[in-house]
């Protein structure tokens, strides 16, 4: 997959690019309006991560331009402004998703995967990891094509783990993902244990020991 990260904060841009390129994706970066505009004209990308407040111009303008060109390219907007109007405006113009700063890279990654999975980008409704297959339309998990009974949150957790396989996920990353964007979450993460342990038990009973503990209190989903 080929991504363009249009973000004027170089540090953030580099971190995103580094995180996304771990799965043999190609990540190009652009630091301002002109550079982004040029790259979008010249090259084809599967997805653009677009900061709405680029120093030299509005990301929304770029988005409009991109949509006028009818390019088959997914767009995720990043914004420092968590207002509903901005979100709606972005989505109206044709963005596929909207994420507010500060966000976790794992969260951004899972949003990117979700956008790419959607039909219009030629993705599939299935997500496969070793013997596990997730049907993202019916939201069911299969182990060797045998359905596993999962609660909604367990399914979300498994999807999040698979899209961020091989990455260390801290409790707070997982908690924020499960809790969702607009919720005033609890400050204690004890409830995370319960969900992870339940999921781990269900997977282990099938013989899939993929949830590993990393550094004592973090988690790592890997086949190794």
């Amino acid at each position: 997959m080929k991504f363009l990260i249009a973000e004027d904060e170089i540090e953030l841009q580099q971190s995103i690019a580094k995180y996304l390129s771990q799965e043999s994706n190609i990540c190009e970066v652009a630091a301002d309006y002109i550079e982004t505009s040029e790259k979008l004209d010249l090259y084809e990308y599967d997805l653009v991560v677009l900061d709405i407040n680029l120093v030299t111009g509005s990301g929304l303008e770029l988005l409009k331009k991109l949509k006028n060109q009818n390019k088959k390219c997914g767009v995720i907007i990043i914004s420092a402004n968590n207002s509903l109007e901005n979100k709606l405006e972005g989505l109206d113009v044709g963005a596929d998703d909207y994420i507010t700063k500060p966000f976790h890279l794992a969260e951004l990654n899972s949003r990117i995967k979700a956008v790419l999975r959607r039909g219009k980008f030629g993705g599939e409704d299935s997500l496969i990891f070793e013997e596990i297959r997730l049907d993202t339309l019916s939201r069911t998990a299969y182990f060797n094509e045998k359905p596993i009974t999962l609660t909604r949150k367990e399914y979300d957790l498994l999807l999040f783990f698979i899209t961020n396989k091989g990455r260390v996920l801290s409790k707070s990353i997982i908690a924020e993902h499960l809790w969702g964007d607009d919720s005033d979450m609890l400050d204690s993460f004890d409830f995370i244990y319960v969900h992870i342990n339940n999921l781990r038990k269900k997977l282990t009973s099938e013989g899939a020991k993929y949830i590993h503990t990393a550094y004592g209190s973090g988690y790592l989903f890997t086949a190794e």
Binding site: E9, E11, L12, S15, I16, K18, Y19, Q22, I78, A80, N81, N82, S83, L84, E85, T100, K101, P102, F103, H104, L105, A106, T151, R152, K153, R167, V168, S170, K171, S172, I173, E176, L178, W179, G180, D182, S183, D184, M185, L186, D187, S188, F191, V194, H195, A214, Y215, G216, S217, G218
Partner: protein, 407 residues
């Protein structure tokens, strides 16, 4: 008023005295001229008797001095004793001494006084009524711009986006006042606006550095091998960033309510908003809750604010609830009640909705959740309240938060 009445009294007295003196001298003059006429008449008609009591002619032997005095005479026509001024004197006409007495009825002092007082009162009344209406109409036109502007100043809100405009006036003082008030309100409005904007800007500007910090931590997790204690440090750093992020989020909500950015009012089911939040909490944190009373409760407000309201009240209840006790949420026709268990009453229940007021020592509590609840209530005119109840035989009591949606 006192000055004018004193002037009135003195001028009344002076008028009375001068009028009296004038009348007296007029009467005297008349008496002398009447006497003269009688004397001349006597030349041709020696037998003249006169017309008593006005005129009396008597024949006397010796001359007497002329006397001018007052006398009381019974007037049979009017059946009363009247005061007369009389002039009596003798005159020798054709060798015969005549005593001629002429009299004139004196206007009584009380009558003069009465006439004066009556006239004065009439004048005062007419003048008063006239001046009253004259002043009233003049004042109304004069003060009209002032009262118009006063109404505008009363209606003025510091939060409003439009500057205060005042009606122009020809009166210099009013013009000055208007200019001062306008420059003052413009300044205050600008300051207030800047302050609000500052809060929002700062909150937004903080998001990017926080995003960088968070991204770097995740890069470290997945980069070079770190040891467990380093991970712990980074993980706790991540928690601190999350706290800042939540604080920011809440400050932005407060600023937005202040900036009137929630204008999308629609009928929202409070039952649904709360149930959605409760389900989310139950699913994630397996909290226990029960709804004993569930009337339909629909309120006209912004949907996202209803969500925030439900979220903040329930997460507050969950945070401070005792273990293994259910949270109770009840919906009534005009209110919603959220009850959680607790050991003791709050030390300062009146501050429970204040910004950054923290009763608990919980490190992570932002101290903004309930103040947002209060802000939302203020914005829509709802009434939030808090109470604590505890039965004497029980060791635990109940914290009850109630929102009344009536205006």
């Amino acid at each position: 008023m006192t000055t004018s009445s004193i002037i009135m009294i003195f001028s009344g007295i002076a008028l009375y005295l001068s009028l009296k003196a004038l009348l007296e001298s007029e009467i005297e003059e008349e008496l002398y001229s009447n006497k003269d006429r009688v004397e001349r008449l006597l030349l041709s008609k020696p037998d003249l008797k006169g017309i008593p009591p006005i005129m009396v002619v008597e024949k006397v032997k010796d001359p007497q001095p002329t006397v001018l005095n007052d006398t009381l005479i019974y007037d049979p026509l009017q059946d009363e004793i009247e005061l007369f001024r009389q002039l009596a004197g003798t005159k020798e006409i054709n060798g015969q001494e005549y005593k001629i007495t002429v009299r004139a009825m004196v206007i009584e002092s009380e009558n003069i006084l009465f006439a004066i007082v009556f006239t004065f009162l009439a004048i005062i009344l007419v003048a008063f009524v006239f001046l009253f209406y004259l002043n009233k109409s003049r004042n109304a036109t004069l003060w009209k711009p002032f009262f118009l502007n006063l109404a505008k100043i009363k209606a003025f809100s510091i939060k409003s986006e439009t500057p205060l405009t005042l009606t122009e006036s020809d009166i210099i003082e009013f013009g000055d006042l208007n200019r001062e008030i306008i420059s003052l309100t413009t300044k205050v409005q600008a300051d207030y606006h800047n302050l609000k904007q500052f809060t929002e800007d700062v909150s937004h500007e903080m998001q990017t550095p926080l995003a960088i910090m968070q991204a770097k931590i995740e890069t470290l997790f997945n980069g070079v091998k770190i040891d467990d204690s380093q991970y712990e440090q980074l993980d706790s750093l991540q928690n601190d960033i999350r706290r800042l992020k939540n604080l920011n989020k809440r400050l932005i909500i407060l600023a937005k309510i202040d900036n009137n950015q929630f204008t999308d009012s629609q009928f929202v089911s409070i039952n649904e908003s709360f149930q959605e939040v409760l389900l989310n909490f139950k699913e994630l944190a397996s909290i226990d809750y029960k709804i004993e009373h569930s009337e339909e409760l629909t309120v006209k407000m912004d949907r996202s604010l209803a969500q925030v309201l439900a979220n903040n009240l329930i997460s507050n209840a969950v945070k401070h609830n005792l273990e293994n006790q259910p949270i109770k949420v009840d919906f009534y026709k005009n209110s919603v009640q959220i009850v959680n268990s607790g050991n003791s009453e709050l030390a300062n229940p009146e501050q429970v909705f204040d910004r950054f007021y923290k009763e608990s020592t919980k490190r992570d509590s932002s101290g903004l959740g309930l103040s947002i609840v209060k802000k939302i209530c203020d914005y829509y005119g709802f009434t939030p309240s808090y109470s604590f109840s505890k039965s004497p035989e029980s060791t635990t009591g109940f914290h009850k938060f109630e929102i009344r949606f009536t205006h």
